[in-house]
Each structure stands twice: as C-alpha cells, then as structure tokens.
Amino acid sequence: MNTASSITDTPPPPRNDEHSAVSGKAVRPGDRIFLGLSRGSGIALLVIMAAIAVFLTYRSVLAISGDKANFLTTLDWNATGLDPKFGIAVLAFGTVVSSVIAMVIAVPVAVGIALFISHYAPRKLSSPLGYIIDLLAAVPSIIYGLWGALFLVPHLSGFYSWLNDYLGWTGIFSYSQGAARSLFTVGILLAIMILPIVTSVSREVFLQVPKMHEEAALALGATRWEVIWMSVLPFGRSGVISASMLGLGRALGETMAVATVLSPSFLINTSLLDPGGGTFAQNIASKFSEADEFGQDALIASGLVLFVITLLVNGAARLIIARRKEYSGAAA
C-alpha cells in the first residue's frame, strides 16, 4: 500500500471496511465462479467419457457373449436369428488398409503443399491457396462420396488396368475388370478428404519455425531446400505427426464417403483394386437401421474395436513424439 501510493503519488481510495489494503477475502466471487465453471466442465468431460465407455462395453459384452463364432477372426456378419455368427476381421482389415493407403498418399502431398505455402509461394499466392485448402475441409463427406462414386470410380478403371499389367504379379495390384469400388479407391478418396486438415496444421507449424533456426542454416550456405531439410522439417516433425494423426482419425472413422463408394462384401481380398471389403463405420452405417437389438449390440461391439484401434494409433504417435523430446525444437 505504501509503495503503491508513493509511486503514484495519489491517495489510496477510501475503504469503507476496516481491512487493511493487503488483507481481505482470499477468493473473490469471480474467481470462485470461474473455478466452478472450469472444474465443472472438466468433470462433465470425464462423466461423459465414462458413460460412453460403460455403454459401449456393456452392449459389446452382450453381443460378444451371444456370438456363436470367433468375434475377432470370423469373415461373416450375421447377427440375427438363433445362430448369430459375426466377426470383425474384414472390417478391421478394410479400415486399416484404406486408412494406410490414404496416409501414404496424403501425408507427403500435404507436407509438400504446406511447405510450398509457407516457404516457396509468394505472399500474394500463399493466402488464397491456404484459403482454398481450408475450403476443401468444409466440403461435406457425402459430397466427396458422390464425387468418388460418380467420377473417381469410372475414371480409375483404366489406371487400375495399367497397374494390373505392370504390378498384377504382386497379387496386391491385380485387377479384374469391373467397377473400381475397391478399398484402394476408398483410400484415394480418403486421402483427398484428409489432405486439408493435414495441410493446414502442417502449414501452421512450418510458419512457426523460429527465424533464427532458418538463418542458422542460411548463414552456413544452405540452399532453400537445405534450410527446409535442416531447420523447418525437424522443427515441424512432431507437428506433422500430430496433423497426420488428426487426418488418420478422420480416415478411420469416415462413414458416408466410404459407404457411397465401396461395394461391400465380407471377404478379405488379396487384391486392393478389386471391389469388396468393408470398414467399421461403413458397416455400422449400412446395417444399423435394419438391425434388431442384438444386431445393434453387435455393431456397437465393432464400434468399440474401432475406438480401441484409434486409441492405439494415437498412443503410438505420442510415443514417437516423446521419444525424441529432448531434440524437439520446443526445448530450445
């Protein structure tokens, strides 16, 4: 109180209570309200998570205990009648394979676009480009699905035949004529769908690279590409991984676009180009409305598996980021 008044040279405001300037209530009403709000939100989040987990687990246990076949390995989905036999093998395969294809295609392209916007394009070009990328993220997935089914599918047949001619011997890229409603087509479509999110997060990270790291490389006589290689990419590494995980999350859970493009079947094709297969989300969407209560339980059980897969993928990404934490740019 003394210090404050001696600095400002104005008399302290009159106080109508007998407290001195420094004593008083430790907690003000505003603090208390904000504390309550934030603590309440935190607790609400935990309660909702717990409720979802309990619900999913309970219904899944009902389904799995009623399954007359192995839930993990069965290549069929028949969840009605007295002898229900269903398993997630096809769905897990289809989900993982289509998402991996999407990542392999999308991440390098997204990093390329992000680098172009952040480090190559003139400023006049970079902001409209960034805007267009963000716009892509706003397109509803059913639109992507329609475009995929009506444009991508017919146009990919020729490319798949070409792949079959040169790489058909691998088995993975063999293709017998027909509509290209395959996992590979789904992968390409998913790649286009996750491109915007991976690009815009990566771009933000690349723009945050401290100038002094880039100048360090420049002053050693690095070319623009070498600056990116020495300073920008190492700094952005964990950000790109996080961005990829966001994209992967979307790819794993994408429903409408996959359901529109894929011609589903309950078998695991060695060929990625031939139609068939399925994903968790697509299978739930196409079967849920017609399922009885036990059928719903079965679909919920498959949803739980998707949830676990997503958790595992995220955990793995965190491990990758943490492993080289002491080398991360944030520590400097």
Partner: protein, 258 residues
C-alpha cells in the same frame, strides 16, 4: 585463409525504406573490426549485407559493391549460397540446430559442402570445437543435443559450427548480448585467438567490448529516426576511443548524445 573486405558506395533498403546510406570502408584481413552505434543505425543491416543475408528479409535489397579481395559479392554471376559458405556468421542469440546433436551441429556446414569420410568429419569437428574452446566441455557428450548446453556454450558451439567450414570472414552480430559476463569473457578471449586465422567483424552495443577485442572500430549513426544510418568514421580502435576525428563519435563514446 583470411581475405580483405572492400565496401564501396553500399546502400541497403527494406522495401522503399533506406536503412543504410552510401557506406564505404575497408576491413583488414586477420584483424577484428568492431561496429558501434545507437540502435537502429543500421550496423546489423550493414553486417548482413557482407554475406548477402540482408536480401533474405522480405523486401531487402542492396546497391553498391562489396569486394572480397578481388571478387564482388554482388557481381552478376555470384551465388549468394556460395557467398555464405565463404563468409560465416554468428548471431545475437545462440541458435544451434535444436534437433541435432553437438557433433551434427558442427558437422552441418561440412555436410552441406559435400561428402566427407566419417574420420575426416570427426577430425574437423574436434578441431573446430577446440578452436571454439569448447572441446573439453563437450567431448564426452558429442551425441547429446546442442540445446542442452548453457547459453555461452551454445554460442561457442555456433562459433565452432561457423569456423568448421573454414570461412574467409567471420561476422558476429552482437554475439555476447544474450550471455552472462563470464561467458562473454570466454567469447572475447576466443575472438582474440580466432583473428589469427580469420577476418572478423563484430557488431556490439558494449563499447568496453569494442575497446577490448577490436583493432579497428567503425562508428555508425543516424540523423533521426526514419533516416538511413551512415558510417561516421572508421579508425584504429585506440584512436576512436581516445581522440576521434568526428565530434559525434566522441559524444557517443563519452555518453553525450541526443
């Protein structure tokens, strides 16, 4: 090894703003030249024109000539990347590559310049770290990240990185301003050793430092904020600090300015 710098009629711009105006000077090889002057007088900008780092800033451009012995750095066929490999730079804030180990930091410039055998790299890294008086402190942890070192050690690591490629000239932009007095002393001692091998130009706000480390001192000033910075005079350090020929220099050095 060390070359002479001959600057004539050099002006630098940020967009339409002229930051430094018509500077001419000669920097002697194997000596330390210090740039002093108030903030905003363009001494750092001028330093950055000497290895073509100024033009990296958006809108940055340069007029005039910088001769390194008999080669104009701003000649038509000159590659700025090649210039920066010849004229090394140390920055105000230590900036080791955070994702690289101590070893890789020192080896970074060599790896840019071409392929080296592992044993060659090891020798150069050891020699450079010894040259930067850092070897004894880090020889047991060359594979640890450079960002784990103290500020002064990081700055010496940056010096090691800069001298590993054997530049002709070493530019230092306030290399001690982020360091404590003990680390500063270590860097100043190091500058005294390095001038046997390199031409050194150092920007500093610390006039005692300029007096301690440099052979020649250049004083920069600007007429008013928004006006371009100018070279007022350059002379033997002893003369600048005892009997400068321009009144403005004496005012600045003795603390009478404004």
């Amino acid at each position: 090894m060390a070359k002479r710098i001959d600057v004539s009629g050099l002006s630098a711009y940020y967009g339409s703003h002229k930051a430094i105006d018509d500077i001419s000077m000669t920097v002697e090889p194997r000596s330390v030249t210090a740039f002093i002057g108030p903030s905003g007088c363009g001494k750092s900008t001028f330093l950055r024109t000497l290895n073509r780092m100024h033009e990296v800033t958006p809108g940055g451009r340069v007029e005039g000539k910088v001769m390194l012995d008999d080669e104009n750095l701003y000649g038509s066929g000159v590659d700025p990347v090649a210039v920066r490999r010849t004229v090394g730079m140390v920055f105000q804030r230590p900036n080791p590559f955070p994702t690289m180990s101590i070893f890789d930091n020192v080896a970074a410039g060599l790896r840019l310049n071409g392929s080296f055998k592992k044993s060659e790299l090891k020798d150069v890294v050891e020699k450079s770290l010894k040259g930067a008086n850092l070897w004894n402190e880090v020889k047991d942890r060359l594979n640890k990240p450079g960002s784990g070192l103290s500020g002064g050690q990081q700055q010496r690591l940056c010096i090691a990185r800069a001298i590993a490629v054997e530049p002709q000239v070493l530019l230092m932009d306030e290399p001690c301003s982020a360091l404590d007095p003990i680390s500063t002393l270590a860097i100043e001692d190091l500058i005294g050793e390095l001038k046997e091998r390199f031409t050194i130009v150092i920007v500093t706000h610390n006039m005692q430092q300029a007096a301690r480390v440099s052979d020649r001192t250049a004083f920069f000033n600007l007429a008013a904020v928004g006006q371009p910075g100018k070279l007022i005079e350059i002379d033997e350090t002893e003369r600048i600090f005892s009997n400068p020929s321009v009144q403005a220099t004496e005012d600045y050095i003795s603390g009478r300015f404004g």
